[in-house]
Symmetry: C2
Subunit: 640 residues, 2 copies
């Protein structure tokens, strides 16, 4: 006899009894509760998430839920087995949607355990009560300050910037010789190193008063800024915005071309500075401070973004043999770089590896933990380029595939960026081939963003709308499959359902572009594995970073052959690993040094010069792949 | 029987015969040649200098002649003994005057023996033929350059400035990867130190192509600039001009006061930059180069001048306890300082010791050789302040007496700076008390400059116009001594002899000011000697630097008690020791380090806090002094 459990939903009058081992969706059905299941109960969409506030369940999958979500009791109803009496909260549908689309967009960082500013920081305040000068002691102001600093710290050398010299005598005398110099040290104050006085504050500043820094991730599309209290290590304000350079080209290649014409390079610098400075203002307001109080900014970004920020001509990045002007940038001042933080504040641009493997990736490798794990790990950041790293704590190989901007919505008829009005997930009913979808921000759809394109491609394949070559099956009985001016096409939304007043469709040309992009990325995996003589199945975990990564539905990405076919639990979505890496480097100079080590340690494989890449690319120009033994789970699904 | 020698003057028809041991003036008289002797043949004025082009003479004194002059045969006729057959050129009088007034005004430097740029310089060009990047070697431009630099030199670390990064890729590619980076190294390239790439030149620059640096001496009154080829070490262009700050105050005190009002500090910075930049232009033109090609500028100046250049508020210099904001300034860039040399070029402000002992003195101590001699040496720089150093290679004590600007012509009714129209030397006929004088640039006189004031005071004392207390002897039978509105006065020039249309006079008030100034300086000597328990007569040499020093007539300066009473041969005039020190520091980093050591090593004695100073000052408020045993030679002259 099977045990029965009682399940009480908050939105239902009465509890229901169901047999142990039932799905939560079954319990909901019995209780008469509507739970959206656009994917048809396959656990793919996460739309049926509920919160189990009491009682025992077993989750078959936590796909699309964060660890935090699971800790709070969230469960995907269609993938969750009842194993005890339960109390369940059904969140309003909008709440789930919002959570799924934006909940993870802010970098989800936490202060590292045992963080101690004193040991980890390069920015330090050293409150000093100085003995005023007298006729018996006519030491200069700077020598007096310097001596006190050398006595208070273990530093071997202290220097000073001209602007601080210019304000020094006033601050000392107006504050009765009680002042708090701000130092930038090469490493910690405890070390026998050197430091520079970059500011001097009036009076004796209390040790726990916030001391400000910023982490900045310059993406080709989006710039993110996090203002951090360096004393507690806590992020206190975040902001993100489109990179204003977008108006001068959507991808790095078009920006490089723009930069090489006339004053293009200067224009692009001014545009990205405009964005960063606006975000520093916004994030500072949220942190209840001002940008002028930020003494250290750590920046990550792809190599082109870093070149453009510093007005270093990026042309050589685009032309064979594809070299950067510099991967390692010296530490600069905010004044030199044009940031509106404290003018003598320091700006660290984290080091990259190559033209298409920038510091967004090295920072990502650090924050993902890849460089410290013993597990063979594949780290992936899909944007305009697919940058990937294979390795562990002992070795790292990296490459970048010019996947093109298809997954960012460019080169696709109704593609668009993941903003309000974009469809971000599509489901196709396998019976009638009708579609349903989810729109970011609700409302009528305007187009398809990257994750929708993956979904759509997978659904079309799994429901037989297209075959493995990406060709349409015109024999199916539906108006949605038709011939258009671009060859075959599938109608996702009818004209009257959309915001744009025309059918939203996916054409064979679009499919071709998407297949090229996914084939390039998968070929990258293959070459990386090949270069170290390791099959992809030896990979023990797949870490996915980047803004795009966090919306990918793994199952669908595997179905189209974008990601390798592995058990879901091997995949982990890490959110903005680049910003998180910049944050970690901002907090602890050892992290910054570790990123330098990572950059030096990585073996870069230039795919454009590698014949293996073309072979692997050609083999991957099918859905999911010509070699179906690489995709056993997809084979099984297709067989169904 | 005395031997006879033949002396042939160029301006005489015939040679004359005179006994061995005769003076040249006697030979001239016999030949019927007029040689000016305003001082009456005492060897004080140098006006009777002639050039012995052939034959042997013995010079009793070479006062007012440079070593070079003597090498060229110049001799002061009234102090030169005929010891063989001679040929003598009598220079036109104007030529002598000009020589005496301006001949030594340019810094008279010569390249140190064995100067080797490679070993001594901090600025280096390193021509490099780089291997271009390829698909097999995708090293970044900067890493490629850096690796080549580390391989070519012994440097442990090479950094790069942002502006060079910005132009790097263009210069490399336009020049087929043949380039010449310009480095600023902490010491020599041979050392295991660090350096920064501050520019990158196209092509392979030949090793002997000039490489430019500049030495700058910022005086309160005059700024001097010397543009130097760092490869050969030779000064190639010089220029000097009044410090444009003069319009905002003649001495450091009035400038400090001006600087503390409103935007005064900024105004003074702009004014001195205007002067320096104009001089850099002018000296560069003379050196056939441009300021933008100057990669290193070494600056000396008194502490106030350095503060004002860098817009560091100098107020504390003026107020007890008289401290500077900084004596040691970090190495800056031309961009930061506002110089119009290469923006990434370095600017070294040499280190000073105290508020009134600046880097003009530390540089002077180096260039005078004081810090390397075993002789007990007194180094003196008289300007607005009398700065002095007593010591040897083992110890150094220094002090500054606020002598006031009397010897610069300020605070004296008809005082003026040593410019065209200023009387720079005065003689009084001891019989009739009539005056004669010399005017800078010839023409009618406008007033009395510092050296004239010393002359005049001494002549008045030696001829009995005034007594040891500086009071006039109204019993003398001359119209030149009279009572005026300021008490007693002596008329140097009558109204119709002057440019200004009034009598040029020296009053008792003027005399009082001058006595205070000379007493302060002499009291300084006393305290310095006292502080190391050493009488002044133990001093083995007196080195006199500064623009003012070179015009001082030692005998007259001794007569009024401004300089200690010592044999003339112990005195040496070194010209602009400050600029010369800056030049030496520009040439060789070891000199720069030595100046730092000098600055650290000097014991500074604050006179305003020293009772000994007031006692010594009071004792020195006589001409030459209350204690005549300190001035035996003056006693003898007075007894005559």
């Amino acid at each position: 006899m099977a045990t029965n459990y009682r399940v009480k939903f908050d939105v239902a009058e009465e509890a229901v009894e169901i047999p142990a081992g039932s799905m939560l969706t079954a319990a909901a059905e019995k209780a008469g509760i509507q739970i959206n299941q656009p994917c048809g109960g396959q656990g793919r969409c996460g739309q049926c998430a509920v919160q189990v506030t009491s009682g025992k369940v077993r989750r078959r999958s936590t796909m699309r839920l964060s660890t935090e979500d699971v800790e709070q009791g969230y469960a995907i109803a269609c993938q969750t087995v009842v194993e005890g009496d339960l109390e369940v909260v059904v969140p309003p549908q909008e709440k789930i949607q919002q959570h799924l689309t934006t909940g993870q967009s802010a970098a989800d960082v936490s202060v590292p355990d045992g963080y101690l500013a004193k040991q980890a920081q390069v920015i330090h305040r050293v409150p000093l009560e100085l003995k005023p000068p007298s006729m018996e002691d006519q030491t200069s102001d700077w020598a007096r300050l310097r001596t006190a600093l050398l006595q208070t710290t273990s530093l071997a050398q202290v220097d000073i910037s001209l602007p601080v010299l210019q304000k020094l005598s006033g601050v000392l005398r107006e504050n009765n010789w009680q002042v708090t110099p701000v130092l930038y040290a090469e490493s910690s104050l405890q070390a026998d190193g050197s430091a520079q006085v970059i500011d001097i504050l009036p009076g004796l500043v209390a040790p726990d008063e916030p001391l400000w820094g910023a982490a900045v991730d310059i993406g080709t599309t989006t710039v993110k800024v996090m203002v951090v209290d360096l004393i507690s290590g806590e992020p206190k304000g975040q902001a993100s915005e489109y990179n204003a350079q977008i108006t001068r080209g959507e991808d790095v290649i078009s920006r490089i071309i723009f930069s090489s014409k006339g004053t293009g390079n200067q224009t692009l610098r001014e545009l990205v500075l405009e964005t960063i400075n606006e975000l520093l203002n916004k994030a500072s307001r949220r942190a209840k401070t001002r940008p002028e109080k930020i003494y250290h900014t750590v920046i990550s970004g792809n190599s082109t973004m870093i070149h453009l920020l510093l007005q270093i001509p990026p042309s050589s990045i685009r032309l064979a043999p594809y070299v950067t002007v510099a991967n390692h940038i010296p530490v600069l001042s905010a004044l030199e770089t044009g940031l509106n933080s404290h003018p003598e504040g320091k700006v660290t641009c984290l080091p990259g590896v190559a033209s298409y493997v920038g510091s967004d990736i090295t920072a990502g490798v650090l924050s993902s933990g890849l460089s410290e794990t013993e597990k063979v790990t594949l780290f992936l950041d899909v944007g305009t380029n697919g940058e990937m790293v294979l390795g562990s704590n002992e070795w790292l190989v990296t490459c970048a595939c010019s996947a093109g901007p298809a997954f960012e919505g460019a080169g696709v008829l109704h593609g668009m960026r993941a903003t309000t009005g974009a469809i971000d997930e599509v489901w196709i009913n396998s019976q009638n081939l009708e579609s349903s979808w989810r729109v970011i921000g609700g409302g009528k759809p305007k187009g398809l963003c990257g994750s929708a394109l993956i979904s759509l491609l997978a659904e079309m394949l799994m429901t037989g709308v297209i075959n493995k070559s990406g060709r349409f099956d015109f024999t199916r009985d539906t108006e949605r499959i038709r011939k258009g001016s671009h060859g075959g096409e599938y109608v996702v939304c009818w004209e009257d359902e959309t915001e744009i007043g025309e059918d939203i469709i996916l054409t064979e040309v679009d499919i071709d572009n998407l297949m090229r992009a996914k084939a390039a990325i998968f070929a990258g995996f293959s070459v990386l594995g090949d270069s170290v003589g390791m099959p992809l199945k030896a990979v023990e975990q797949v870490l996915i970073g980047g803004g795009f990564g966090q919306y990918i539905n793994v199952e669908k990405a595997v179905q189209i052959g974008l990601l390798p076919d592995m058990p879901w639990e091997k995949f982990e979505f890490l959110g903005n690993t680049s910003l998180k890496g910049a944050y970690l480097a901002l907090l602890d100079f050892q992290n910054r040094e570790e990123i330098s080590r990572i950059a030096s340690k990585m073996t870069y494989i230039e795919l454009s010069a590698d014949n293996r890449f073309f072979d692997a690319f050609t083999s991957a120009m099918f859905l999911p792949h010509t070699d179906m033994t690489l995709f056993p789970s997809v084979q099984i699904s297709l067989d169904k």
